[in-house]
């Protein structure tokens, strides 16, 4: 409940923040929402020497679609900004479905989308949705900006690909090639629980045919499970009982769950399969209704 001592900086610009990271050779950590970092610091699971508070840097709280159709989410966009968006359900249904399932409503006023991706929790909801949607993180360091593909961003549990002197300034999700469809299902025993298993599915539909398919899993492996290859069996197909079962089986195979007090590995794998099936069935049914 009582953190150990640390030094605190509250820079007003990105360059200032990067300079502090540079000067501290890996002993400094970025503090945005703090809803994952501060609990760890309080329990002394993490004891950074310097915390760099970026909440005072203007111009990082945007969420917009650019001229190319990319969704750009700035570093200070809070979870509840996604939850309360009136447009996200239509443009990015996978994100919209996950938004209200992240932590609890109070944590969502503070925690950030980009911060959550950087935290790289194997049970992180946003990591799973982002890997299913594809896209990249824009990192800024002393030498300028670079893009890190989201599939290369998480290296392991709580480990991301940023250099010690880089800040993730935005997440970018490319435009859908067709009608965006998808959802996020999470088995949690109560609001705020770790996921027993969760599934993000993002499809781009061309009429009744799947143009692009993305899928990722949380809670069923040492890090976010990239199931994009597994679900690619749907590409070029329509959604019917057969194709859905094949996809669900493939995705369940990609999971790497462990047996623990939340359930056996078999059970978690089964939940993955069930959730993929449900999401795809829902998409198929709404396709039928639209037709």
């Amino acid at each position: 409940m009582y953190p150990s001592r640390f030094a605190y900086e509250a820079p007003k610009t990105l360059n200032e923040a990067i300079a502090i990271l540079q000067a501290n050779g890996g002993e400094a950590k970025i503090l945005a929402g703090g809803q994952s970092l501060i609990p760890m610091v309080k329990l002394r699971f993490a004891s950074p020497e310097v915390l760099v508070d970026i909440n005072n840097i203007p111009g990082l709280d945007y969420m917009r679609i650019d001229e190319q159709g990319n969704l750009r989410i700035g570093a200070l966009v809070r979870h509840e900004d996604l939850e309360h968006s009136t447009t996200l359900a239509a443009t990015h249904p996978t994100l919209a479905a996950a938004a209200s399932l992240v932590a609890d409503p109070i944590v969502r006023t503070r925690g950030t989308f980009v911060g959550s991706l950087c935290h790289a929790d194997p049970q992180g909801d946003w990591s799973a949705t982002m890997v299913a949607l594809g896209g990249h993180i824009v990192a800024q360091g002393p030498n300028g900006r670079r893009q890190i593909d989201i599939r290369e961003f998480v290296l392991g549990p709580f480990t991301n690909a940023l250099a010690y002197n880089e800040i993730a300034v935005e997440a970018v999700i490319p435009p859908a090639k067709g009608r965006p469809a998808g959802s996020y299902l999470k088995l949690e025993r109560r609001v705020g629980d770790f996921a027993t298993a969760s599934v993000a599915v993002a499809l781009d539909m061309n009429g009744a045919t799947v143009g692009r398919a993305g899928c990722a899993l949380a809670g069923v492996g040492g890090k976010t499970i990239d199931a994009n290859d597994a679900i690619s069996v749907l590409v070029g197909k329509t959604l019917n009982a057969e194709s859905i079962e094949a996809a669900a089986d493939a995705v369940a195979e990609a999971a790497d769950p462990r047996t623990d007090h939340r359930g056996s590995a078999d059970y978690k794998r089964h939940i993955v399969k069930t959730f993929v099936t449900r999401i795809l069935n829902n998409i198929a049914n709404s396709e039928q209704k639209a037709a």
Binding site: Q35, K42, L51, A103, T109, G192
Partner: protein, 178 residues
């Protein structure tokens, strides 16, 4: 110095870096010197003697420490006081006035929305924030909005009734449109 004396601590404590911050708490500007690691909840409770905000758990789970930060609910155990520099914080002591209770406070009393009272300040502030955005919530919307605040005593049913009571009172008290 704001009083007749200031106690100077022994030299051993002198090299701890502190930061001067100014926070508007319940409408009043407060300036303090704090260590960066001081949690906002402890600043409120020990630094400012506002003990209505409570500390319950170690994992940002229970919400007993909920305050309003720039109008939005925040678990004050999961923010360092230094981060609140330049911001507005409202605690339970800022709800209502000396002469009049806030409708949410009244609702909790009328509908038996509390028993031991420990979760109550946080619960009421989360409810207040909800009603400011959604003046006519359904029961489900109330339960959803309060799902970050744990209560052990009431079973939540009367808390929901309290919030709906307050919502109705606030709608009825609105001045008529011209």
């Amino acid at each position: 110095m704001s009083s007749l004396y200031e106690v100077i601590p022994p030299a051993a404590g002198a090299d701890v870096p502190v930061r001067r911050i100014t926070i508007e708490v319940n409408g009043e500007s407060r300036t303090l010197d704090v260590e960066p690691r001081l949690l906002l909840v402890h600043l409120l409770r020990q630094g400012l003697n506002l003990t209505g905000t409570h500390s319950g758990c170690d994992t940002t789970s229970c919400g007993a420490c909920t305050v309003l930060f720039d109008g939005r609910p925040l678990k004050s155990c999961t923010m360092f006081a230094v981060m609140a520099d330049g911001h507005k914080v409202e605690t339970v002591e800022g709800m209502g006035s000396a002469s009049e209770l806030h409708p949410v406070q009244e609702g909790f009393k009328q509908e038996h929305g509390l028993q031991c009272g420990f979760c109550t300040p946080g619960m009421m502030l989360a409810a207040k924030a909800l009603l400011e955005r959604n003046p006519d919530p359904t029961e489900d919307e109330v339960r959803w909005a309060l799902s970050g605040n744990l209560c052990r005593c009431t079973g939540y049913q009367n808390i929901v009734k309290s919030v709906l009571w307050a919502a109705e009172k606030m709608r009825n008290d609105q001045p008529q449109e011209a």
